[in-house]
């Protein structure tokens, strides 16, 4: 199935300004977020900055990833602003070679999760607005300094989240016919389409850029590092790129060398990104339930620690110590059960990708909860904003009863997402073990299946706990 050949959807996606139009929609949302965050009410649940950012954006982003693909990178307004900036100043420098990789993105991803908790960002409209402005500024500075999509590829923590989660998306951009690519001599999908010969003297002008993240279509495998920008579709002179359906998550057990990435088992930084993505999902959800509040209170009172120290300890334990212990134990068990002499780190890198489906299920269960229970609050808040702005109820008096589903009614869906993710992880473990261990596959897989079960049960336990909305805000 190729969405680019569907009626309506296909012509829209192939339209030259499709991406710009999506970017402008999200840019308008960002402007609303910043303005209401800075001048609107301080109470987070009545401010569009906090509601649109922490409820709708996060929720819809996960829904889009699971239903289609990396649509929020496709419509990212930061890239629109960056492109306007590049009309004034085109960077020439390449991103420093020693900074290539995901380490900066991993650190920023973990930092975002920590600062979200530490500063109660969900409860601070003005801080949320400044965060959005800061994000725009960072993207513009990085991408006006370095060419290509350096910010997306190496820095953006949301982008790293999207790259990992999009491995379980049902759609990917891929070549239609391998022979067409084999005979292609221009590689426009990655280098960009040039103006016809004679248009310029020595160096042909690029009239349509190719993939800014360096993904060469014939060697592209899966969705990692793909922003779904469709530049390759626009650039390919042979119309040989499809937006095709596929088995979600299958690429996680695919160890072919990938364009722009290499082999997954060789990438320690990608393994670290998956660890933060996976254990961060559990930690982020855990911190919303009553036992986590009780634990934090106990650590503060009985140990005499500040809240910052308590959170630092919990994040250290949740994102470093616990993963190190659990993944290490699973790797040593696999070695012992199979007689495999591979270093434990390599065994971890073979299997760590299997955590992604379960973790995506946990993120979806968490963010989906907020989205579904608060889906309609944007209506009364917008009415209230217009009332505050104009003094007249032009959109009617706020319908505060418009909220969303009752919290309890969302639980079956949440449990279903976690279980579906767990099944996906089991399938990836099995495929990985079959690929690397052949006849010893079940011995190799057993520790990782136990780990998947343990993490899935932990996620379900968290969902069963009473929620406690923490933080007092301003």
């Amino acid at each position: 199935m190729d969405l680019l050949r569907w009626p309506v959807v296909g012509p829209f996606l192939r339209w030259r300004h499709a991406r710009t139009s999506l970017q402008l929609v999200l840019l308008a949302a960002a402007v609303v977020i910043v303005l209401h965050g800075l001048v609107g009410p301080d109470l987070a649940s009545t401010n569009l900055a906090t509601v649109l950012t922490w409820v709708h954006y996060r929720g819809l982003l996960v829904v889009a990833l699971l239903a289609a693909g990396n649509l929020f990178c496709l419509g990212c307004p930061l890239v629109r602003v960056r492109d306007w900036g590049r009309q004034l100043h085109m960077p020439r420098r390449a991103w420093p070679a020693r900074l290539r990789g995901k380490w900066i993105g991993v650190a920023l991803f973990a930092a975002v999760l920590l600062t979200y908790e530490l500063f109660d960002l969900w409860a601070l409209p003005a801080a949320t607005a400044w965060l959005v402005l800061g994000y725009f500024a960072a993207a513009v500075v990085v991408d006006l300094t370095f060419r290509g999509a350096s910010f997306c590829q190496y820095v953006c923590p949301v982008g790293q989240f999207n790259f990992v989660a999009s491995t379980v998306s049902p759609l990917e951009l891929r070549m239609r016919d391998a022979n067409t690519c084999r005979t292609c001599r221009t590689a426009d999908c990655v280098s960009g389409r040039k103006a016809p010969a004679g248009d310029t003297a020595l160096r042909p002008r690029v009239v349509q850029r190719g993939c800014e993240l360096g993904l060469f279509m014939p060697a592209k495998v899966g969705n990692l590092d793909c922003t779904f920008c469709l530049d390759c579709v626009q650039a390919c002179p042979h119309d040989n790129i499809a937006l095709a359906s596929r088995v979600p998550g299958a690429e996680l057990a695919d160890d072919r060398r990938r364009s722009g990435i290499g082999r997954l088992v060789d990438r320690v930084d990608l393994a670290a990104l998956v660890v933060v993505f996976s254990f961060g999902a559990l930690l982020n959800a855990f911190l919303m339930v009553a036992p986590a509040q009780a634990l934090q209170g106990w650590m503060e009172h009985d140990w005499g620690l500040s809240r910052a120290s308590v959170l630092a300890l919990l994040f250290g334990a949740g994102l470093v110590v616990l993963p190190f212990g659990l993944l290490g134990a699973a790797a040593f068990s696999t070695r012992a059960l199979t007689g495999d002499g591979a270093p434990p780190g390599l065994v971890v890198r073979r299997f760590v990708m299997s955590l992604v489906p379960l973790a995506t299920g946990v993120w979806a269960a968490h963010y989906g909860f907020h989205l579904l229970t608060g889906l309609l609050v944007v209506v009364p808040i917008t009415q209230n904003a217009v009332l505050d702005l104009t003094g007249a109820p032009w959109l009617g008096w706020p319908f505060w009863r418009w909220t969303g589903l009752r919290p309890g009614s969302v639980f079956p869906l949440q449990a279903g997402l976690v279980l579906l993710g767990a099944f996906g992880s089991v399938a990836v473990v099995q495929a990985t073990a079959e690929r690397d261990y052949g006849a010893r596959m079940w011995r190799a897989a057993a520790p990782w299946l136990m780990l998947t079960t343990l993490l899935a049960m932990t996620a379900l336990w968290i969902l069963f706990q009473p929620m406690q909305m923490r933080g007092m805000g301003p």
């Binding site: 505060w400 009473p466 805000g473």
Partner: protein
Amino acid sequence: MLIRLAAAAVLLVLCACSGPQAPFSPGFTAELTPTPPVVGRELDVRLEVAEASVPLLDAAALELEGHMTHPGMAPEVARLVEDAPGRYRARIRITMAGEWVLLVTGRLANGRPVREEVARATAVAE
């Protein structure tokens, strides 16, 4: 294009900053029962207003809104009932543990909006 966008943004900020009428705060004091609020139970809120504000207020035009500080959670809304001049009462249901902010909102007879935060409380599970 950039200049146009910047101009539009500045215009929007100016519009937002020059709101028509600042909300009126009558000066409520609130008493909550039970304290702390308990999930699943109704919270009884008794309000008393500063004497000077009494003639300005009409209970029928006032509501008590209970919002959680976390965005996206359903607010609870109840109409104020006047027990005696200057004394009001409302009950809202506490649906989740966590931080709640109680606001009185509505209108004065002259149309000026009323908006005042009257209490903050941390609701606990039963």
